[in-house]
C-alpha cells in the first residue's frame, strides 16, 4: 500500500464525511466567523482599534489580525485533533489494531490519511475569509495577503504534523487521553500567541512558545495583518524557521511513534 493510496483513502473519507454529516459541514463553515465576531465584538465593546494598535505595538488592521489568528487557531486545532485525536477515534471505533497491523508505519498512516482533510478544511476557511480580506485590503493587497495566509497554512502544517504525531504516540501509551488532549490544546494555543501575541507574554512563557511550531505559523500568518505590504525578508525568515522545525519534529515523530506503538502493544493498551 503506497502513500498515494493513503492520500486517496483520506480524500474519499473526507468527502463522505461531509456528505453524510451536513450539519457538521455547515457548523464548520460558521465557526470561523463566529469566533471572529466574538473576538472583535468583545474587543470593540470594551475598547477601540486605536488602543489595540497601541497595545500590540504595530500598525496592524485588527480585523485581518484576528482573521489570521482565527484561521491558524482553527488549523492548529484541526491538526492536533486530526492527527493526535485520530488515535482515539480509531481506538473507539476499533480500527486502531488494523492501522497498527497495516504495512505502513502508524505515523505515516496517521499523517497521510489526514493531509487531504486538513488541506480541504484550511482552504475552505481561507475561501470563506477571502471576500472579507479583499473588501478591507482591496484586490491587489488582498490577494497578496491571501497568498501569505495560504503559505502559512500549508508550510505551517508541516511542523505541526510532526508535533501532533508526537502527541499521538503519547496518547498511545497513556490513559485518560481525551482528558489530556482537551486541556493541552488551548494551553498550546495560549503559549503560541493564538490571539494574544507571544512577544507580550512573560519571559518564562516566551521560552515555551519558542519551542512550539504553532508560534511561528501564527507569526507568519499575522504578517498579513500589517498595514501596507509586509516585508518579504520577514516572510522568508519565518518560512525558513518553520521548515527547520518541521524537519526536527517530523524526524522525532518518525522515531518516537514506533516506540509508543511498541509500548502500547506490549501493555495491551490497544
Amino acid at each position: 500500500m503506497g502513500l498515494k493510496t493513503l492520500l486517496k483513502s483520506g480524500v474519499i473519507l473526507d468527502l463522505y464525511l461531509y456528505k453524510n454529516n451536513r450539519g457538521a459541514f455547515i457548523s464548520m463553515l460558521l465557526w470561523p466567523y463566529l469566533m471572529l465576531s466574538l473576538m472583535l465584538g468583545m474587543g470593540i465593546l470594551f475598547g477601540s482599534p486605536e488602543a489595540f494598535r497601541e497595545n500590540i505595538g504595530l500598525q496592524v488592521d485588527p480585523i485581518i489580525y484576528f482573521v489570521a489568528s482565527t484561521l491558524i487557531t482553527m488549523a492548529s486545532l484541526d491538526v492536533m485533533w486530526g492527527v493526535g485525536g485520530n488515535v482515539l477515534f480509531h481506538r473507539w471505533i476499533g480500527t486502531l489494531p488494523y492501522i497498527l497491523l497495516s504495512p505502513n508505519k502508524t505515523s505515516l498512516t496517521l499523517v497521510f490519511t489526514y493531509i487531504p482533510r486538513y488541506l480541504l478544511t484550511a482552504f475552505i476557511q481561507i475561501a470563506e475569509f477571502a471576500p472579507l480580506i479583499l473588501i478591507i485590503e482591496g484586490p491587489i493587497q488582498g490577494l497578496y495577503k491571501i497568498g501569505i495566509l495560504i503559505i502559512a497554512v500549508t508550510v505551517g502544517m508541516l511542523p505541526l504534523l510532526g508535533f501532533s504525531a508526537l502527541f499521538a504516540s503519547l496518547l498511545l501509551t497513556i490513559k485518560e487521553e481525551t482528558n489530556v488532549l482537551s486541556w493541552l490544546n488551548p494551553i498550546i494555543l495560549l503559549f503560541s500567541g493564538a490571539f494574544y501575541p507571544a512577544y507580550l507574554l512573560p519571559h518564562w512563557a516566551r521560552l515555551i512558545s519558542q519551542l512550539l511550531p504553532s508560534t511561528y505559523t501564527i507569526e507568519l500568518a499575522r504578517t498579513a495583518a500589517l498595514i501596507g505590504a509586509p516585508k518579504l525578508a520577514n516572510i522568508t525568515f519565518l518560512i525558513g524557521i518553520l521548515m527547520g522545525i518541521a524537519l526536527v519534529y517530523n524526524m522525532l515523530a518518525y522515531l518516537v511513534v514506533d516506540i509508543g506503538e511498541k509500548k502500547a502493544m506490549k501493555a495491551g493498551a490497544i
Partner: protein, 263 residues
C-alpha cells in the same frame, strides 16, 4: 420512597463526579484555558487605564454565559449517553421519570462551573492585579444567577425532552450558545430607549442585566423591568420544560424511545 429515590439520584451523580475526577479536572482546566485565551485577545483592545473594569466585565459576562451553556450541554447533552445505555426504559419500568435522574446533573454542572470560575478569577486577579470577585451587591448577583440557573436548567431539560423524539444537532446548540454570549455582552444603556425593554425580553438577557447592575458594570436602569421580566421568563421557561417533559414521557410510553438524542 421519594427520599430514597432522591438519595439514589444524588448518590449516582456524586459518585460519577468522583469516579470521573480526571474528566472533571480536564473540564475545569480546558474551560479556564479557553476563556483565558479569548479574554486575553479581547483585552488587547482595551486602553491600560480601563483594564480592570474591562477584565471584570468580561469575567462576569463569561460567568453568565458559562451557566447557560453548561446547563444546556451538560444536562441536555447527557441525554444522548443516557439513551445509549438504555436507561430511559429501565427508569420508566421502575416508575421513576428519567428526567429526574437527568436533573441530578446539576451536581457536576454546578461543581464544574464553581471550580472553573474560581480558577479563572484567580488567574485574572493574578495577571491583571485586580479583584474580579469584588461586587457592589452580592445578594442581587446571587439572585440574578439563580434566575439564570432556572432558565438554563429549563432550557436544558426542554431540549433533553425534545431529543427523546427527534434529533438535536449538537453543533447547532454550540452555535446558539455563541449567539447568546453576543447578546449578553451588549449593555442595555447603549441601546436606543425604545428597544431596551424588548432587548430585555430575550431569554437570559434580563437576569444577565441584573447581574451587570449587581457588579456595577452597567447603569442601574430598568431594574424593576429586568426583575419582573426575569421572574416571568423563568416561570414560563419552567412551565414549557415541564410540559415538554410530560408530553415526551407520554410519547415514550406509547411509541418507545427513538434513541436519537444529540448528535
Amino acid at each position: 420512597m421519594f427520599l430514597t429515590r432522591l438519595k439514589a439520584i444524588l448518590w449516582l451523580h456524586t459518585l460519577r463526579l468522583w469516579r470521573y475526577k480526571w474528566s472533571f479536572l480536564n473540564m475545569v482546566l480546558s474551560y479556564a484555558a479557553w476563556i483565558f485565551l479569548f479574554i486575553l485577545g479581547a483585552l488587547l483592545f482595551v486602553p491600560g487605564e480601563y483594564l480592570d473594569i474591562a477584565v471584570k466585565a468580561a469575567f462576569w459576562t463569561i460567568v453568565a454565559w458559562n451557566i447557560i451553556s453548561m446547563f444546556s450541554s451538560l444536562i441536555g447533552g447527557w441525554m444522548h449517553f443516557f439513551i445509549s445505555l438504555g436507561m430511559v426504559e429501565e427508569h420508566i419500568l421502575r416508575g421513576i421519570s428519567p428526567f429526574k435522574t437527568v436533573l441530578g446533573r446539576v451536581i457536576p454542572s454546578f461543581s464544574i462551573i464553581t471550580a472553573s470560575l474560581l480558577f479563572i478569577a484567580a488567574i485574572l486577579n493574578g495577571v491583571f492585579k485586580t479583584n474580579v470577585l469584588q461586587v457592589g451587591d452580592p445578594l442581587l448577583l446571587i439572585f440574578a444567577f439563580l434566575l439564570l440557573v432556572v432558565e438554563g436548567l429549563a432550557y436544558g431539560l426542554t431540549i433533553a425532552a425534545i431529543s427523546m423524539k427527534t434529533s438535536i444537532p449538537h453543533n447547532m446548540l454550540e452555535i446558539l450558545n455563541f449567539v447568546v454570549i453576543g447578546l449578553l455582552m451588549v449593555p442595555a444603556h447603549s441601546l436606543p430607549e425604545v428597544i431596551r425593554v424588548a432587548y430585555l425580553c430575550i431569554p437570559y438577557v434580563a437576569p444577565a442585566h441584573l447581574a451587570k447592575i449587581a457588579t456595577s458594570l452597567d447603569m442601574p436602569i430598568l431594574f424593576g423591568e429586568a426583575l419582573t421580566i426575569s421572574i416571568i421568563e423563568a416561570l414560563i421557561m419552567s412551565i414549557i420544560a415541564l410540559y415538554t417533559i410530560k408530553s415526551s414521557e407520554k410519547w415514550i410510553k406509547k411509541n418507545g424511545v427513538r434513541a436519537i438524542g444529540f448528535w
